[in-house]
Amino acid sequence: MGREAVAVAAKELRLAVRGRTGAATVVAFAALALALMAFAFGPEAGRARGFAPGALWLTFFFAGQFALQGTFAVEGENAALEGFLVSGADRLALFVGKLAAGGMVMGAVEAVGVPLYLLFFGHLGEVRLPLLGASLAMGDAGFLAAGVLLAAVTSHARAGEAVFPLALFPVTVPVLLAGVATTRAALGGGDGGAWWELLAGYDALFLALSLLLFESALEVE
């Protein structure tokens, strides 16, 4: 399973680098979204600071949805998924590989997004990088665990790209709430308190659920 998952992740990353809607497009989309949020909230950075972590997390949510929504449509082309299923490879490798690759794409989005956010929203206080890293990484883990499963599930539907966000965002509401609260803590607003536990609990629950249910989500036509 380990080698197969690495192979899937490598394939996903090659697609992310070379594909039409690859990582570069997702990063550009995130930068644009952040700029739009800054325009929408107006130039008064001081007023925006209270809810600015919300703008950051909304950007990552939409970028994440954008990154995930094509991930199983690609498998449908040229019967790639059928090929994978009959290859005898562990089916969970597909989940783990896509999860790992998704984490790297989100990491790239955040590596660009966070500095842009600090620039656009004029953050002047201290930035506790380890805490910020933990908040983003834990948020991504839960978001992607639920997201990869739901992307697989909705890829069977007509207009699946419309159904996917409809299913993804309600499921990941706890990530949004806890992500915003812990990121605010990392940017100098309190300690985050029980939100860290909620985030960890969500990650554990959805990793377990997704591993359990992923094979059922692969039902092919």
Partner: protein, 246 residues
């Protein structure tokens, strides 16, 4: 042709022939239950100390909330059972139950909002109970929309089972939200005892019994309807294939 019709009717049961799916006894029973529940809730039970007569919306609000939870519980059990047994009839029960649950969640949100205007002086507030209930409404909306989009029955059943299991994670959270977090939403049951007078308690349970019976009735009716729809679809396919061969 006669054969095909006979097969389909055999699948649906005698109800398809008579056109009376569950009959007079159900209607009479429901009438009695709702009459009794309504009498207890609107005439027999006392006004509340602070909220006055507006407290009576409580009996409807709690009853529909209970039903939404029950309906989603049935959906969750059906979803798990489908993945274990791969029986499309189980999927039918689960789907219909989610549909009913979504309708009743809408009723919970509407009655709650009306009551909140009276009790809290606002139509909506981001209280944990309200927030988690709204998320529940969105989750099962996605479940129902997803079902519409998948045409192969086995695929539809499997993917909706996955979403049904994931969506149910929120249901106990809705129930426990008033205990876990600081909430302005009242908690009427604590450690098995209720913060209600005996008459109010009786009215509440009468309404719970009435809506539960209504749920069982409507669930069976809709399952039968869906079975008939599937039978007709199968018949149509058979006729079409016969037309192509002759």
């Amino acid at each position: 042709m006669a054969n095909a019709t006979g097969d389909a009717v055999a699948q649906v049961g005698p109800a398809a022939r008579t056109g009376r799916p569950t009959g007079i006894p159900w209607a009479a029973g429901l009438l009695v239950l709702f009459w009794f529940g309504g009498f207890m809730a609107f005439l027999d039970s006392p006004d509340a100390q602070v909220l006055g007569a507006t407290v009576r919306i409580f009996y409807i609000h709690v009853a529909v909330a209970w039903l939404a939870g029950l309906a989603f519980l049935v959906n969750w059990m059906g979803s798990i059972l489908y993945l274990v047994r791969r029986d499309l009839r189980v999927d039918r029960w689960a789907a219909v139950s989610a549909e009913i649950g979504e309708v009743f969640t809408t009723a919970v949100l509407v009655t709650g909002s009306i009551w909140a205007r009276v009790a809290w002086n606002t139509w909506w507030t981001w209280d944990p109970r309200l927030t988690t209930a709204l998320v529940m409404w969105f989750l099962y909306l996605a479940y129902l929309v997803l079902r519409e989009g998948v045409s192969r029955p086995e695929s539809r059943a499997a993917v909706s089972a996955v979403v049904g299991i994931v969506a149910f994670v929120d249901v106990p959270v809705v129930f426990l939200s008033t205990r876990w977090w600081r909430s302005i939403h009242p908690v009427i049951e604590q450690n098995g005892t209720f913060a209600l007078s005996p008459h109010m308690l009786l009215a509440m349970f009468a309404m719970l019994a009435a809506v539960t019976a209504f749920y069982v009735y409507i669930l069976r009716l809709r399952v039968r309807q869906e079975a008939a729809r599937d039978a007709i679809e199968a018949m149509r396919l058979r006729l079409r294939s016969r037309g192509e061969t002759s």
